[in-house]
Every structure is written in C-alpha cells, then in structure tokens.
C-alpha cells in the first residue's frame, strides 16, 4: 500500500514552538477517518476484473493499485459506497461495521 501515513504529533511545549505564521508542513496527517464509516467496502477478488473503476471514482483515493490486487486504505475510507455502486461486476460489498 502506497498512501500517506499518519505522523506522530505533539502539542508544542511553548508558544514560540508554533510554526512561523499560519503555516504547516504539507503531507501532514495526524488523525484517521475510519471512525466515520458505518459501512465497509469489501472487495471480492474472485469477482474483480481489475478494471480499476473503483480506484478512479473514489473521492478519497483510498483504493491502492500498486499491489497484485486492489487494496483499500481502511484508515481513510469513509464508507461512502461509490466504489460498490459503480463496480461493473458488483465485486464490492458494503458490509456493516461492527464497533
């Protein structure tokens, strides 16, 4: 999986340790979005025809195609279900999250 990773971050110890101005390093994620999800997309790799439409239509870019099979970054998937809805062979199931 090649996706930006969550980085450790601690609240600055002193006011002076805050950034110079209203600025930050880019590519700086400190919290995941998994908690937003009520449904989880699950890819049936037997059915999948590797058309990669799910990769294309995902607003969050959480479907990674760098490996041998498509992989979902569940840290950042919000469970919107566009991938399942758009899949031409219905190879993605939206499964209820159990908390």
């Amino acid at each position: 999986m090649k996706r930006p990773q969550v980085k450790p971050w601690a609240y600055p110890g002193r006011v002076q340790d805050f950034p110079l101005g209203s600025t930050s390093k880019s590519d700086h994620l400190v919290s995941i979005n998994a908690g937003w999800r009520t449904l989880r997309p699950v890819i049936d790799h037997e059915k999948c025809i590797d058309c990669m439409k799910c990769f294309l239509v995902c607003p969050d870019g959480v479907i990674d195609k760098s490996g041998p099979v498509l992989e979902i970054d569940y840290d950042f998937c919000k469970g919107c279900g566009i991938c399942a809805h758009e899949c031409p062979v219905k190879a993605i199931d939206m499964v209820k999250e159990v908390k």
Binding site: Y11, P12, V15, Q16, F18, P19, L20, G21, S22, T23, S24, K25, S26, D27, H28
Partner: protein, 395 residues
C-alpha cells in the same frame, strides 16, 4: 557613499526607493494620491530599470492578494494604496501578517468617505492598526524613499518576518517636491541583500500549507506567537535604522525622534508631515524661552512604549496631535500614548489635539495654540481633554 540629488515629489521618492529595493513582483491598482507611485513603477519596468513582474490587478483586494501569492513562494513583493483602497483590501492584510509574509506596502494617507474627500488625514491607516502590520509614518520625501529600503530589510529579518506599511501623507507629501538624495544601487544592494527563501515559504524542496486554519485548541497560541514576535520587532526597528545610518549617513532615530525633550515641560507628539511644521514652532518657542519639546512618532505598531516613557520622563504636560478621530472616543494616538504613560506609571497632564481632518491645514499658529493650551493646563486651566485645531465655526 552618497547618491545623486534630484528634485522629486513624495510619490516619486517612494517609486525610487522601491526600484532600489528590487522587488520581483509589483501589483498595482491606482488610487489618488498614490497613482504617481504605480505610474513611475510601470515606467521603470517598461524601460527595464526595474526587473519585476508588473501585475495590473483589477482591485486593491487583488493587489494585496497577488502580493500575498508572490510573497508566499519567497518573492519580494510590493504594492501601494490609499484610503478606500486600503479599506477595500483590509480583509487581506491579516492574511499577509498571519502567514508572516514580508510584503512592503506604501499607503498614501487620505481621508475616508463619507463625506468624500481625496486629501490627507490619517484615518485610513488607523482602521488597520490591528491588522498585524508594522506601521511607519514618514515626515518627508527622503524618509519616504529611505523607508522603502529599510522596510524590506526589517520585514525580511528572520526574527521579524512581518509585513510593513509605510504611511506617506496624501498630497502634502505625495505631491510636493523636494530635493531628495537617491542612494546608489550598490549601497542599497549591500544593505538589502536578495531575500533568502524564508522558512515559511512554499517551495518544491519543502512543500507547505499556508494560511491554514487553527481551531480553538491552537488559535490563541498562533496569535500569541505573532503578537510576541511583533513586540520583539521593536529592537529590530532600532537596529535596522542604525545599520541604515552606517551605510547611508542618515538615520531617523528608530521608532521615534525626540526633539528638545530633555528639559522640556511640555511636549507635543506628532506623526507624519506635520512634524516638519512643529519643528519650526519648537525652534521659535525655544528662542522665546519656552521649555517645549517634540516627539516625532514614526512607528505606531509595534507601539514604542518604552522609548516613549524614556523620552517623556520629567515632562509635565503631553499633547498628542491626531489626524484621525476614533468616533465616539478621541484620537487613536492619544489613546495609545495615555496607555503608555499608565504603563510607565507617569501622570503628566495630557491633551488630545485633533486636526488636519480631510486635508485641513495645521498651521504654525495652530501648533503654537496647542503648546499654549498645554501651558494653560499646567497653570491649572480646566480644558476639555480633546481639543480641535483650525475649526471654521463654533462647536
């Protein structure tokens, strides 16, 4: 190193100073009485004596926004405005100061509508006193030119990294001609080296997110840091002016110039061109044996509290000349000076003098009258705290 002397107006002096500072990007929108600045700069770019991108923007809001964009990638940016234009761009000023972008802007001080008026007072800049910009007020064309150069050196100081607004009184200074020394480019280049990529700049090597949001868990700390750094810039203001003096042979005494204050009983505080008139009045009153002094307040933010306290030690009555009204209270500089006096646990008598609104003259006689009222107060007269100069009917 001395430069060449030329007979030019205040706006032209600003343009000469900007050319010498070698900005990469000039974003310009015309407004009276700033127009000569952006006209000259466009000519310099056309003839090639200023190698800058000249951006014809469609408003002052875009003028500052364009400067913000350029500055955010580490380019030196300049813009100029006045009055309604300054208010129109008001929203963008804290973007620049919040992101700590070292932009320099000239503001030709002009009255605020309504009633409409194109002449000089200082109401416009007072609206933006809280914008997070360092604010200078200059007395003459030479100072206007020199402050463009000092302004960038200060704004770009890694310890400061704060935008600077140079206030130039409309018409009285922007459109009057004086003999001005144009420094040599080599000398300016030595004093003001090219801007090194600041830490907060967007860059390919270190991608940044700028003008970010900070929630109630961090917002206060971001603002406090900006405030503390601005307070600390007071020492850089003094240092930059000293260094300027070493290179160019003239200084402006940092955040304020104290004139004949050592043994003065009464002192008048001025900002901008009216200081020139006041110098003559002080000279005449001194010659008549009156112990009067004058403080030329050059910087309103950061407010030079400590220097004011030092300069006003032993003074019995302090008058503050405001070319602005904070409606429903008094002149803004008066409020600030009174607060500084409290901070220094000093309690001279104080009077606020409001004058020059909408370009009304402030004459020698008006200033003599102001000094006279300060002496009257010392003798026990019970005068209104706020006095109005050169009013043309009863009130």
């Amino acid at each position: 190193m001395s430069g060449v002397k030329r007979f030019i107006c205040g706006d032209e002096a600003v343009a000469e100073g900007v050319r010498l500072a070698r900005p990469h990007v000039v974003s310009a929108y015309p407004i009276t009485p700033q127009t000569i600045v952006v006209e000259r700069l466009s000519e310099y770019v056309e003839e090639g004596s200023l190698k800058a991108r000249y951006m014809h923007v469609e408003s002052e809001h875009s003028a500052m926004s364009c400067a913000i964009g350029a500055s955010s990638v580490g380019a030196r940016a300049f813009t100029a405005t006045s009055s309604q234009g300054l208010l129109y761009m008001a929203e963008t000023l804290p973007y620049a100061s919040g992101a700590r972008l070292p932009i320099v802007m000239m503001n030709a001080n002009r009255s605020i509508a309504t009633p409409w008026n194109i002449y000089g007072d200082q109401m416009d800049a007072m609206f933006l006193l809280n914008s997070g910009w360092i604010q200078y007020y200059v007395e003459d064309a030479q100072e206007a030119l020199d402050m463009m150069i000092q302004g960038y050196r200060l704004a770009e100081d890694p310890e400061v990294m704060t935008p600077v607004m140079i206030n130039v009184d409309g018409f009285v200074l922007t459109h009057t001609y004086e003999l001005v020394e144009i420094p040599l480019q080599e000398a300016v280049d030595g004093f003001l080296p090219p801007l090194k990529m600041p830490l907060n700049s967007m860059s390919l090597e270190s991608p940044k997110s700028l003008c970010i949001s900070a929630g109630n868990d961090t917002n206060m700390e971001f603002n406090m840091k900006q405030h503390f750094d601005m307070l600390r810039s007071a020492s850089a203001i003094e240092a930059v002016d000293r260094a300027f003096g070493e290179t160019f042979g003239r200084t402006y005494h940092g955040a304020l110039e104290a004139i004949d204050t050592e043994d003065a009983r009464v002192v008048l505080i001025t900002a901008g061109t009216v200081t020139g008139t006041a110098r003559g009045v002080v000279k005449a009153l001194r010659a008549a044996g009156k112990k009067v002094g004058l403080i030329k307040l050059r910087v309103l933010r950061p407010f030079p509290v400590q220097r004011l306290i030092e300069a006003l030690k032993g003074v019995e009555a302090v008058g503050v000349l405001d070319k602005n009204i904070s409606f429903g209270y008094e002149g803004t500089i008066f409020t600030n000076v009174n607060s500084a006096l409290m901070a220094g646990q000093m309690s001279p008598k104080t009077l606020g003098f409001i004058g020059g609104i909408g370009g009304r003259d402030i004459t020698k006689a008006n200033l003599e009258e102001a000094y006279g009222k300060l002496f009257e107060v010392l003798e026990g007269a019970d005068l209104d705290r706020v006095q109005y100069l050169n009013v043309r009917c009863d009130y």
